[in-house]
Protein backbone atom coordinates (compact mmCIF):
# COMPACT_ATOMS: atom_id res chain seq x y z
CA UNK A 1 0.00 0.00 0.00
CA UNK A 2 2.72 2.45 1.06
CA UNK A 3 4.83 1.66 -1.98
CA UNK A 4 1.91 2.36 -4.30
CA UNK A 5 1.37 5.73 -2.64
CA UNK A 6 5.05 6.45 -2.90
CA UNK A 7 5.06 5.66 -6.60
CA UNK A 8 2.01 7.90 -7.13
CA UNK A 9 3.70 10.69 -5.17
CA UNK A 10 6.90 10.49 -7.21
CA UNK A 11 5.12 11.19 -10.51
CA UNK A 12 4.04 14.79 -9.72
CA UNK A 13 7.37 15.43 -7.99
CA UNK A 14 9.29 14.44 -11.14
CA UNK A 15 6.86 16.38 -13.35
CA UNK A 16 7.26 19.51 -11.22
CA UNK A 17 11.02 19.42 -11.26
CA UNK A 18 11.49 18.41 -14.89
CA UNK A 19 11.62 21.92 -16.39
CA UNK A 20 14.64 22.31 -18.69
CA UNK A 21 17.79 24.37 -18.15
CA UNK A 22 17.19 27.95 -19.04
CA UNK A 23 18.07 29.52 -22.35
CA UNK A 24 16.39 32.83 -21.54
CA UNK A 25 18.38 36.05 -21.94
CA UNK A 26 20.43 36.77 -18.85
CA UNK A 27 22.51 39.73 -17.67
CA UNK A 28 26.15 39.02 -16.93
CA UNK A 29 28.37 41.24 -14.75
CA UNK A 30 30.66 38.71 -13.04
CA UNK A 31 34.37 39.45 -13.46
CA UNK A 32 37.58 37.92 -12.19
CA UNK A 33 41.03 39.27 -11.44
CA UNK A 34 43.88 38.73 -13.85
CA UNK A 35 46.27 35.91 -12.94
CA UNK A 36 49.46 34.37 -14.26
CA UNK A 37 47.20 32.17 -16.41
CA UNK A 38 46.48 35.24 -18.56
CA UNK A 39 50.15 35.51 -19.62
CA UNK A 40 49.64 33.26 -22.61
CA UNK A 41 52.65 33.96 -24.77
CA UNK A 42 56.34 34.74 -24.43
CA UNK A 43 55.84 37.75 -26.71
CA UNK A 44 54.12 41.03 -25.85
CA UNK A 45 52.52 42.76 -28.83
CA UNK A 46 50.26 45.77 -29.36
CA UNK A 47 47.89 44.89 -32.18
CA UNK A 48 46.35 47.71 -34.29
CA UNK A 49 42.64 48.25 -33.80
CA UNK A 50 41.97 47.58 -37.50
CA UNK A 51 43.13 44.02 -37.10
CA UNK A 52 41.67 41.05 -35.30
CA UNK A 53 43.41 38.07 -33.76
CA UNK A 54 42.46 34.62 -35.06
CA UNK A 55 43.57 31.16 -33.86
CA UNK A 56 47.28 30.51 -33.83
CA UNK A 57 48.54 27.56 -35.79
CA UNK A 58 51.67 25.42 -35.71
CA UNK A 59 53.75 27.94 -37.65
CA UNK A 60 51.85 31.09 -36.71
CA UNK A 61 52.53 32.02 -33.11
CA UNK A 62 50.52 35.24 -33.28
CA UNK A 63 47.97 35.19 -36.07
CA UNK A 64 45.93 38.18 -37.23
CA UNK A 65 43.62 39.20 -40.04
CA UNK A 66 42.66 42.54 -41.51
CA UNK A 67 39.88 43.54 -43.87
CA UNK A 68 38.22 40.39 -45.21
CA UNK A 69 41.10 38.09 -46.08
CA UNK A 70 44.30 39.98 -45.33
CA UNK A 71 46.68 38.03 -43.10
CA UNK A 72 49.53 39.04 -40.84
CA UNK A 73 51.30 36.73 -38.48
CA UNK A 74 54.37 36.37 -36.29
CA UNK A 75 56.40 33.17 -36.44
CA UNK A 76 59.16 32.21 -34.04
CA UNK A 77 61.47 29.91 -35.94
CA UNK A 78 64.99 29.20 -36.95
CA UNK A 79 67.15 29.67 -40.01
CA UNK A 80 68.70 32.80 -41.43
CA UNK A 81 67.20 35.94 -42.83
CA UNK A 82 68.51 35.44 -46.37
CA UNK A 83 67.08 31.98 -47.04
CA UNK A 84 63.71 32.86 -45.50
CA UNK A 85 63.52 36.09 -47.51
CA UNK A 86 64.31 34.18 -50.71
CA UNK A 87 61.65 31.59 -49.86
CA UNK A 88 59.07 34.34 -49.43
CA UNK A 89 60.00 35.90 -52.77
CA UNK A 90 59.72 32.50 -54.46
CA UNK A 91 56.07 32.46 -53.42
CA UNK A 92 55.72 35.44 -55.77
CA UNK A 93 57.63 33.70 -58.54
CA UNK A 94 60.71 35.82 -57.87
CA UNK A 95 63.88 33.70 -57.75
CA UNK A 96 66.47 36.45 -57.46
CA UNK A 97 69.08 36.35 -54.71
CA UNK A 98 68.40 38.56 -51.71
CA UNK A 99 71.16 40.88 -50.53
CA UNK A 100 70.26 41.41 -46.88
CA UNK A 101 72.44 44.50 -46.45
CA UNK A 102 70.44 46.28 -49.16
CA UNK A 103 67.07 45.76 -47.45
CA UNK A 104 65.33 48.47 -45.46
CA UNK A 105 66.19 48.31 -41.73
CA UNK A 106 64.04 48.74 -38.61
CA UNK A 107 64.90 48.52 -34.90
CA UNK A 108 62.84 45.69 -33.44
CA UNK A 109 63.38 43.83 -30.15
CA UNK A 110 66.73 45.55 -29.71
CA UNK A 111 68.06 44.21 -33.01
CA UNK A 112 68.23 45.35 -36.61
CA UNK A 113 65.34 43.85 -38.53
CA UNK A 114 65.00 43.90 -42.31
CA UNK A 115 61.86 44.63 -44.28
CA UNK A 116 61.01 42.76 -47.43
CA UNK A 117 58.35 43.71 -49.97
CA UNK A 118 56.97 41.96 -53.01
CA UNK A 119 54.03 42.18 -55.39
CA UNK A 120 52.47 39.88 -57.93
CA UNK A 121 50.67 36.55 -57.84
CA UNK A 122 51.08 34.84 -54.48
CA UNK A 123 51.12 31.04 -54.30
CA UNK A 124 50.95 30.06 -50.64
CA UNK A 125 51.41 26.90 -48.59
CA UNK A 126 47.80 25.76 -48.49
CA UNK A 127 47.33 25.91 -52.25
CA UNK A 128 46.03 29.45 -51.85
CA UNK A 129 46.63 31.77 -54.80
CA UNK A 130 46.09 35.51 -54.63
CA UNK A 131 46.23 37.64 -57.76
CA UNK A 132 47.53 41.21 -57.39
CA UNK A 133 48.91 40.30 -54.01
CA UNK A 134 51.30 42.22 -51.85
CA UNK A 135 53.85 41.06 -49.27
CA UNK A 136 55.20 43.11 -46.44
CA UNK A 137 57.62 41.10 -44.34
CA UNK A 138 59.96 41.69 -41.43
CA UNK A 139 62.73 39.37 -40.33
CA UNK A 140 64.88 39.74 -37.23
CA UNK A 141 67.34 37.49 -35.44
CA UNK A 142 67.10 37.73 -31.66
CA UNK A 143 68.06 35.47 -28.76
CA UNK A 144 68.97 32.65 -31.14
CA UNK A 145 65.57 32.74 -32.86
CA UNK A 146 64.43 34.10 -36.16
CA UNK A 147 61.31 36.20 -35.63
CA UNK A 148 59.33 36.93 -38.75
CA UNK A 149 56.28 39.09 -39.32
CA UNK A 150 54.56 38.42 -42.61
CA UNK A 151 51.67 40.33 -44.11
CA UNK A 152 49.89 38.95 -47.17
CA UNK A 153 46.85 40.35 -48.91
CA UNK A 154 45.67 42.35 -51.86
CA UNK A 155 48.40 44.77 -52.96
CA UNK A 156 46.45 47.94 -52.18
CA UNK A 157 45.30 46.61 -48.82
CA UNK A 158 48.85 45.69 -47.81
CA UNK A 159 50.10 49.11 -48.82
CA UNK A 160 47.32 50.73 -46.79
CA UNK A 161 48.37 48.72 -43.72
CA UNK A 162 52.06 49.64 -43.90
CA UNK A 163 51.91 52.08 -40.98
CA UNK A 164 50.06 49.55 -38.83
CA UNK A 165 52.57 46.88 -39.83
CA UNK A 166 55.54 49.01 -38.75
CA UNK A 167 53.98 50.01 -35.41
CA UNK A 168 52.94 46.40 -34.78
CA UNK A 169 56.44 45.12 -35.54
CA UNK A 170 58.04 47.77 -33.33
CA UNK A 171 55.78 46.81 -30.43
CA UNK A 172 56.99 43.18 -30.31
CA UNK A 173 58.89 42.45 -27.11
CA UNK A 174 60.04 39.38 -25.22
CA UNK A 175 58.18 39.04 -21.93
Amino acid sequence: MNLRKLALGLVPMIALTSCDESTNPVEVTETRKLTSYDDESNLAVAMPKDWRRVPSTRFRDYNCKFNENGEVYISIGSGDIKSNAERWLKQFGDTREVVVSELEKLDVMGSKAVILEAEGTFAGMRGVTIEDAGLLGLLVETRGNLITVKMIGKKEEVQAQRENFISFSKSIQWK
Partner: protein
Protein backbone atom coordinates in the same frame (compact mmCIF):
# COMPACT_ATOMS: atom_id res chain seq x y z
CA UNK B 1 2.46 -1.84 18.05
CA UNK B 2 2.30 1.86 17.17
CA UNK B 3 -1.10 3.30 16.30
CA UNK B 4 -1.78 4.32 12.70
CA UNK B 5 -1.70 8.11 11.97
CA UNK B 6 -4.94 9.74 10.87
CA UNK B 7 -3.80 13.31 10.14
CA UNK B 8 -2.85 13.63 6.40
CA UNK B 9 0.40 15.50 7.18
CA UNK B 10 1.38 12.90 9.74
CA UNK B 11 0.49 10.23 7.19
CA UNK B 12 2.89 11.76 4.67
CA UNK B 13 5.61 11.99 7.32
CA UNK B 14 4.95 8.40 8.26
CA UNK B 15 5.07 7.29 4.63
CA UNK B 16 8.31 9.10 3.80
CA UNK B 17 9.90 8.08 7.09
CA UNK B 18 8.75 4.50 6.71
CA UNK B 19 10.90 1.41 6.74
CA UNK B 20 9.75 0.43 3.22
CA UNK B 21 10.95 3.71 1.75
CA UNK B 22 14.33 3.23 3.43
CA UNK B 23 14.64 -0.25 1.92
CA UNK B 24 13.56 0.92 -1.56
CA UNK B 25 16.01 3.86 -1.45
CA UNK B 26 18.94 1.72 -0.37
CA UNK B 27 18.19 -0.95 -2.98
CA UNK B 28 17.85 1.73 -5.68
CA UNK B 29 21.14 3.33 -4.64
CA UNK B 30 22.80 -0.07 -4.75
CA UNK B 31 21.45 -0.74 -8.26
CA UNK B 32 22.32 2.77 -9.50
CA UNK B 33 25.83 2.51 -8.13
CA UNK B 34 26.33 -0.92 -9.65
CA UNK B 35 24.99 0.07 -13.07
CA UNK B 36 26.88 3.38 -13.17
CA UNK B 37 30.09 1.63 -12.17
CA UNK B 38 29.68 -0.72 -15.11
CA UNK B 39 28.65 2.06 -17.47
CA UNK B 40 31.51 4.42 -16.63
CA UNK B 41 33.98 1.93 -18.10
CA UNK B 42 32.25 2.36 -21.47
CA UNK B 43 32.43 5.20 -23.99
CA UNK B 44 30.47 7.54 -21.70
CA UNK B 45 33.33 7.73 -19.22
CA UNK B 46 33.19 8.76 -15.57
CA UNK B 47 32.15 12.40 -15.97
CA UNK B 48 29.14 11.79 -18.21
CA UNK B 49 28.07 8.68 -16.32
CA UNK B 50 28.00 10.64 -13.06
CA UNK B 51 26.03 13.37 -14.82
CA UNK B 52 23.60 10.82 -16.20
CA UNK B 53 23.01 8.94 -12.95
CA UNK B 54 23.56 11.38 -10.11
CA UNK B 55 23.19 14.96 -11.30
CA UNK B 56 20.48 17.33 -10.10
CA UNK B 57 18.96 17.41 -13.58
CA UNK B 58 18.81 13.61 -13.90
CA UNK B 59 15.26 12.94 -12.74
CA UNK B 60 15.23 9.48 -14.23
CA UNK B 61 17.86 7.25 -15.80
CA UNK B 62 17.76 4.68 -18.56
CA UNK B 63 20.78 2.49 -17.83
CA UNK B 64 23.06 1.23 -20.56
CA UNK B 65 24.77 -2.09 -20.04
CA UNK B 66 27.56 -3.20 -22.35
CA UNK B 67 26.40 -0.80 -25.05
CA UNK B 68 22.70 -1.74 -24.90
CA UNK B 69 19.98 0.46 -23.40
CA UNK B 70 18.10 -1.56 -20.79
CA UNK B 71 14.29 -1.52 -21.08
CA UNK B 72 13.89 0.07 -17.63
CA UNK B 73 13.83 3.55 -16.16
CA UNK B 74 15.15 4.26 -12.68
CA UNK B 75 14.86 7.43 -10.61
CA UNK B 76 17.97 9.61 -10.65
CA UNK B 77 20.50 9.05 -7.86
CA UNK B 78 20.33 12.65 -6.64
CA UNK B 79 16.58 12.40 -6.00
CA UNK B 80 16.84 8.97 -4.40
CA UNK B 81 19.45 10.44 -2.04
CA UNK B 82 17.15 13.39 -1.31
CA UNK B 83 14.28 11.04 -0.46
CA UNK B 84 16.56 8.86 1.63
CA UNK B 85 17.71 11.95 3.56
CA UNK B 86 14.08 12.85 4.33
CA UNK B 87 13.48 9.25 5.30
CA UNK B 88 16.39 9.38 7.74
CA UNK B 89 15.16 12.69 9.15
CA UNK B 90 11.51 11.71 9.56
CA UNK B 91 11.89 8.04 10.35
CA UNK B 92 15.34 7.72 11.86
CA UNK B 93 15.39 10.91 13.94
CA UNK B 94 11.99 12.59 14.41
CA UNK B 95 9.76 9.53 14.75
CA UNK B 96 12.25 7.40 16.59
CA UNK B 97 11.64 6.28 20.14
CA UNK B 98 13.62 8.47 22.49
CA UNK B 99 15.44 7.45 25.65
CA UNK B 100 19.00 6.76 26.68
CA UNK B 101 18.80 3.14 25.50
CA UNK B 102 18.06 4.35 21.99
CA UNK B 103 20.57 7.20 22.06
CA UNK B 104 23.32 5.31 20.14
CA UNK B 105 20.89 4.41 17.34
CA UNK B 106 19.68 8.00 17.23
CA UNK B 107 23.29 9.18 16.99
CA UNK B 108 24.07 6.68 14.24
CA UNK B 109 21.03 7.90 12.26
CA UNK B 110 22.10 11.50 12.83
CA UNK B 111 25.59 10.71 11.59
CA UNK B 112 24.14 9.09 8.44
CA UNK B 113 22.00 12.19 8.01
CA UNK B 114 25.18 14.24 8.31
CA UNK B 115 26.78 12.05 5.65
CA UNK B 116 23.89 12.64 3.24
CA UNK B 117 23.78 16.39 3.87
CA UNK B 118 27.57 16.48 3.47
CA UNK B 119 27.15 14.74 0.11
CA UNK B 120 24.60 17.35 -0.98
CA UNK B 121 26.91 20.16 0.14
CA UNK B 122 29.78 18.59 -1.78
CA UNK B 123 27.59 18.37 -4.87
CA UNK B 124 26.36 21.96 -4.68
CA UNK B 125 29.17 23.82 -2.92
CA UNK B 126 32.46 22.14 -3.78
CA UNK B 127 34.65 23.43 -6.59
CA UNK B 128 37.45 21.61 -8.29
CA UNK B 129 40.13 22.89 -10.60
CA UNK B 130 43.63 22.05 -11.75
CA UNK B 131 46.95 23.82 -11.24
CA UNK B 132 50.00 22.79 -13.23
CA UNK B 133 53.39 24.02 -12.03
CA UNK B 134 56.93 23.43 -13.20
CA UNK B 135 59.63 23.41 -10.53
CA UNK B 136 60.37 27.02 -9.59
CA UNK B 137 57.04 28.34 -10.86
CA UNK B 138 54.44 30.06 -8.71
CA UNK B 139 50.71 29.60 -9.29
CA UNK B 140 47.94 31.99 -8.34
CA UNK B 141 45.06 30.34 -10.15
CA UNK B 142 43.63 27.00 -11.15
CA UNK B 143 41.44 26.10 -14.08
CA UNK B 144 38.63 23.62 -14.43
CA UNK B 145 39.13 20.70 -16.79
CA UNK B 146 35.43 20.12 -17.28
CA UNK B 147 33.48 23.34 -16.60
CA UNK B 148 33.98 25.87 -19.39
CA UNK B 149 33.35 29.59 -19.36
CA UNK B 150 33.52 32.31 -21.98
CA UNK B 151 35.55 35.34 -20.98
CA UNK B 152 35.41 38.76 -22.61
CA UNK B 153 38.02 41.39 -21.79
CA UNK B 154 38.99 44.74 -23.18
CA UNK B 155 42.57 44.90 -24.46
CA UNK B 156 44.21 48.30 -23.83
CA UNK B 157 47.64 48.92 -25.37
CA UNK B 158 48.16 45.19 -25.69
CA UNK B 159 47.26 44.64 -22.02
CA UNK B 160 44.30 42.47 -21.15
CA UNK B 161 41.94 44.02 -18.59
CA UNK B 162 39.86 42.16 -15.98
CA UNK B 163 37.63 39.78 -17.95
CA UNK B 164 33.88 39.40 -17.71
CA UNK B 165 32.94 35.77 -17.12
CA UNK B 166 30.00 33.95 -18.68
CA UNK B 167 30.09 30.99 -16.33
CA UNK B 168 29.59 27.34 -17.15
CA UNK B 169 26.36 27.47 -15.17
CA UNK B 170 24.94 30.10 -17.52
CA UNK B 171 26.16 28.15 -20.55
CA UNK B 172 24.70 24.84 -19.34
CA UNK B 173 21.46 25.35 -21.28
CA UNK B 174 23.27 25.46 -24.64
CA UNK B 175 26.29 23.25 -24.00
CA UNK B 176 26.12 20.14 -26.13
CA UNK B 177 22.77 21.33 -27.56
CA UNK B 178 23.84 22.91 -30.85
CA UNK B 179 20.32 23.80 -31.99
CA UNK B 180 19.84 26.05 -28.96
CA UNK B 181 21.15 29.55 -28.36
CA UNK B 182 21.23 31.92 -25.41
CA UNK B 183 21.55 35.68 -25.27
CA UNK B 184 23.80 37.29 -22.67
CA UNK B 185 23.21 40.95 -21.86
CA UNK B 186 26.49 42.69 -21.08
CA UNK B 187 25.86 46.12 -19.52
CA UNK B 188 29.61 46.71 -19.02
CA UNK B 189 30.25 46.52 -22.76
CA UNK B 190 28.68 48.31 -25.76
CA UNK B 191 27.38 45.00 -27.10
CA UNK B 192 25.43 41.90 -26.11
CA UNK B 193 26.36 38.33 -26.98
CA UNK B 194 24.53 35.27 -28.23
CA UNK B 195 26.08 31.82 -27.92
CA UNK B 196 25.02 29.08 -30.32
CA UNK B 197 26.21 25.88 -32.01
CA UNK B 198 27.94 24.74 -28.83
CA UNK B 199 29.39 21.29 -29.52
CA UNK B 200 31.17 19.29 -26.82
CA UNK B 201 34.04 17.92 -28.89
CA UNK B 202 35.45 19.33 -32.12
CA UNK B 203 38.39 19.65 -34.41
CA UNK B 204 39.31 23.09 -35.74
CA UNK B 205 40.37 23.52 -39.34
CA UNK B 206 41.52 26.48 -41.40
CA UNK B 207 39.71 26.64 -44.72
CA UNK B 208 41.97 25.35 -47.46
CA UNK B 209 40.55 26.32 -50.81
CA UNK B 210 36.82 25.60 -50.72
CA UNK B 211 35.26 24.79 -47.34
CA UNK B 212 33.39 21.48 -46.94
CA UNK B 213 29.64 21.68 -47.46
CA UNK B 214 27.49 22.45 -44.43
CA UNK B 215 30.21 23.88 -42.21
CA UNK B 216 29.96 27.32 -40.65
CA UNK B 217 33.11 29.17 -41.73
CA UNK B 218 34.07 32.08 -39.48
CA UNK B 219 37.10 34.17 -40.41
CA UNK B 220 38.68 31.34 -42.39
CA UNK B 221 38.15 28.61 -39.80
CA UNK B 222 35.49 26.02 -39.13
CA UNK B 223 34.88 23.54 -36.31
CA UNK B 224 34.00 19.97 -37.14
CA UNK B 225 32.00 18.27 -34.34
CA UNK B 226 33.18 14.79 -33.44
CA UNK B 227 31.99 12.17 -30.97
CA UNK B 228 32.87 13.26 -27.40
CA UNK B 229 35.33 11.03 -25.60
CA UNK B 230 34.55 9.42 -22.26
CA UNK B 231 37.25 11.46 -20.55
CA UNK B 232 35.53 14.84 -20.44
CA UNK B 233 38.78 16.71 -19.78
CA UNK B 234 40.08 15.65 -23.21
CA UNK B 235 37.07 17.01 -25.13
CA UNK B 236 37.57 20.31 -26.95
CA UNK B 237 34.41 22.37 -27.12
CA UNK B 238 33.58 24.98 -29.71
CA UNK B 239 30.77 27.48 -30.12
CA UNK B 240 29.75 30.48 -32.15
CA UNK B 241 29.45 33.77 -30.30
CA UNK B 242 27.71 36.63 -32.06
CA UNK B 243 28.24 40.11 -30.66
CA UNK B 244 25.58 42.69 -31.43
CA UNK B 245 26.50 46.34 -31.07
CA UNK B 246 23.74 48.04 -29.09
CA UNK B 247 24.14 51.39 -30.83
CA UNK B 248 24.12 50.22 -34.45
CA UNK B 249 22.90 46.62 -34.36
CA UNK B 250 26.03 45.55 -36.25
CA UNK B 251 26.91 41.88 -35.79
CA UNK B 252 30.35 40.34 -35.22
CA UNK B 253 30.63 36.56 -35.36
CA UNK B 254 33.50 34.63 -33.76
CA UNK B 255 34.23 30.93 -33.59
CA UNK B 256 35.53 30.08 -30.11
CA UNK B 257 37.45 26.83 -29.73
CA UNK B 258 38.67 25.47 -26.41
CA UNK B 259 41.92 24.32 -28.00
CA UNK B 260 42.97 27.89 -28.79
CA UNK B 261 45.18 29.04 -25.95
CA UNK B 262 44.74 32.78 -26.42
CA UNK B 263 42.01 35.36 -26.87
CA UNK B 264 40.45 36.02 -30.26
CA UNK B 265 39.76 39.69 -30.79
CA UNK B 266 37.19 41.98 -32.25
CA UNK B 267 37.17 45.79 -32.44
CA UNK B 268 33.95 47.51 -31.46
CA UNK B 269 33.57 51.27 -31.13
CA UNK B 270 37.33 51.74 -31.45
CA UNK B 271 38.12 49.34 -28.60
CA UNK B 272 39.66 45.88 -28.88
CA UNK B 273 37.94 43.04 -27.00
CA UNK B 274 39.42 39.61 -26.46
CA UNK B 275 37.21 36.52 -26.19
CA UNK B 276 38.05 33.01 -25.15
CA UNK B 277 36.36 29.70 -24.34
CA UNK B 278 38.27 27.72 -21.73
CA UNK B 279 38.12 26.00 -18.36
CA UNK B 280 36.78 28.27 -15.63
CA UNK B 281 39.63 30.08 -13.97
CA UNK B 282 39.67 30.24 -10.23
CA UNK B 283 41.83 32.78 -8.44
CA UNK B 284 43.33 31.05 -5.42
CA UNK B 285 43.42 33.16 -2.22
CA UNK B 286 47.16 32.54 -1.87
CA UNK B 287 50.04 31.68 -4.17
CA UNK B 288 51.86 28.37 -4.28
CA UNK B 289 55.46 27.92 -5.38
CA UNK B 290 56.68 24.48 -6.43
CA UNK B 291 60.12 24.11 -4.86
CA UNK B 292 60.84 20.52 -5.80
CA UNK B 293 59.06 17.54 -7.30
CA UNK B 294 60.08 13.89 -7.18
CA UNK B 295 58.50 10.80 -8.62
CA UNK B 296 58.87 7.42 -10.27
CA UNK B 297 57.11 5.94 -13.27
CA UNK B 298 55.87 2.43 -13.83
CA UNK B 299 58.65 0.68 -15.76
CA UNK B 300 58.14 0.89 -19.51
CA UNK B 301 55.20 3.30 -19.27
CA UNK B 302 54.74 7.04 -19.03
CA UNK B 303 52.43 6.62 -16.03
CA UNK B 304 53.54 8.02 -12.71
CA UNK B 305 53.73 5.40 -9.94
CA UNK B 306 54.62 7.57 -6.95
CA UNK B 307 55.24 11.28 -6.60
CA UNK B 308 55.64 14.00 -4.02
CA UNK B 309 56.17 17.74 -4.11
CA UNK B 310 57.68 20.38 -1.83
CA UNK B 311 55.71 23.59 -2.02
CA UNK B 312 55.77 26.96 -0.31
CA UNK B 313 52.64 28.96 0.30
CA UNK B 314 53.26 32.66 -0.35
CA UNK B 315 51.33 35.63 0.91
CA UNK B 316 50.18 38.55 -1.27
CA UNK B 317 53.62 40.19 -1.07
CA UNK B 318 55.38 37.03 -2.21
CA UNK B 319 56.81 36.27 1.24
CA UNK B 320 56.91 32.66 2.37
CA UNK B 321 54.13 31.77 4.80
CA UNK B 322 54.52 28.02 5.18
CA UNK B 323 56.27 25.08 3.59
CA UNK B 324 54.49 21.80 2.88
CA UNK B 325 55.28 18.40 1.50
CA UNK B 326 52.42 17.03 -0.62
CA UNK B 327 52.39 13.26 -1.07
CA UNK B 328 49.95 10.78 -2.58
CA UNK B 329 46.94 10.65 -0.24
CA UNK B 330 48.50 13.40 1.89
CA UNK B 331 47.13 16.63 0.46
CA UNK B 332 47.90 20.17 1.50
CA UNK B 333 44.98 21.66 3.45
CA UNK B 334 45.26 25.40 3.85
CA UNK B 335 42.71 28.20 4.17
CA UNK B 336 39.71 26.09 3.11
CA UNK B 337 41.54 24.71 0.06
CA UNK B 338 42.85 21.23 -0.47
CA UNK B 339 45.68 20.53 -2.93
CA UNK B 340 45.97 16.92 -4.06
CA UNK B 341 48.84 16.05 -6.35
CA UNK B 342 47.25 14.23 -9.29
CA UNK B 343 49.98 14.19 -11.90
CA UNK B 344 53.73 14.23 -12.28
CA UNK B 345 55.74 14.61 -15.45
CA UNK B 346 59.49 14.70 -15.99
CA UNK B 347 59.38 14.52 -19.79
CA UNK B 348 59.86 18.26 -20.39
CA UNK B 349 62.81 20.52 -19.68
CA UNK B 350 61.47 21.03 -16.14
CA UNK B 351 59.72 18.55 -13.87
CA UNK B 352 56.01 19.39 -13.53
CA UNK B 353 53.50 18.64 -10.81
CA UNK B 354 49.75 18.82 -11.40
CA UNK B 355 47.50 19.56 -8.45
CA UNK B 356 43.76 19.17 -8.14
CA UNK B 357 42.65 22.14 -6.09
CA UNK B 358 39.41 21.66 -4.25
CA UNK B 359 37.24 23.65 -1.93
CA UNK B 360 34.56 21.74 -0.10
CA UNK B 361 32.86 23.04 3.03
CA UNK B 362 31.92 19.48 4.00
CA UNK B 363 35.33 18.01 3.14
CA UNK B 364 35.76 16.19 6.46
CA UNK B 365 32.10 15.45 7.15
CA UNK B 366 32.12 11.87 5.78
CA UNK B 367 35.07 11.02 8.04
CA UNK B 368 33.43 12.49 11.13
CA UNK B 369 30.09 10.89 10.25
CA UNK B 370 31.62 7.45 9.82
CA UNK B 371 33.63 7.74 13.07
CA UNK B 372 30.55 8.90 14.96
CA UNK B 373 28.39 6.17 13.47
CA UNK B 374 31.03 3.54 14.25
CA UNK B 375 31.31 4.63 17.90
CA UNK B 376 27.51 4.86 18.28
CA UNK B 377 26.94 1.39 16.83
CA UNK B 378 29.75 -0.01 18.99
CA UNK B 379 28.08 1.45 22.11
CA UNK B 380 24.73 0.12 20.91
CA UNK B 381 26.11 -3.39 20.43
CA UNK B 382 27.79 -3.26 23.85
CA UNK B 383 24.49 -2.25 25.46
CA UNK B 384 22.70 -5.04 23.61
CA UNK B 385 25.42 -7.54 24.50
CA UNK B 386 25.30 -6.47 28.13
CA UNK B 387 21.51 -6.80 28.10
CA UNK B 388 21.68 -10.22 26.44
CA UNK B 389 24.30 -11.52 28.87
CA UNK B 390 22.38 -10.12 31.86
CA UNK B 391 19.15 -11.68 30.66
CA UNK B 392 20.87 -14.99 29.97
CA UNK B 393 22.34 -15.07 33.48
CA UNK B 394 18.99 -14.12 35.00
CA UNK B 395 17.21 -16.79 32.90
CA UNK B 396 19.66 -19.50 33.88
CA UNK B 397 19.30 -18.52 37.55
CA UNK B 398 15.53 -18.74 37.27
CA UNK B 399 15.76 -22.15 35.62
CA UNK B 400 17.94 -23.40 38.48
Amino acid sequence: MSKKPTNPVTKIFALIGGFQVAIVCMVLLLILTWLSTLEQTGPGGLYWTLEKYFSFGAYYVRPTLYGHDLPIYLPGGYWVCALFTLNLLFGGVMRMRKGWKHAPILVSHLSMLMLMIGGAMTYHQSREAYMLLAVGETGDSAFSLTELSIEIAEVKDGQKQEPLVISSELLAGVRGKPTRQREFLLPNFPFDATVSEYHIHNELFPVQGIAPEGVNVVDGYYAKPIEPTGAEETNLSACIITLKERSSGKLHKLLLFEGVSHDLTVTIEDKIYGLRLHGEIWNTPFRVRLDDSRGEKHPGTGMAMIYESDVTVLDENGSAERKFKIEMNKPLRYKDLTFYQTSWNDAGPKVESGFTVKTNPSDQWPKYAIYTCGVALFVHFIIKLFGFVSNSIARSKNEQ
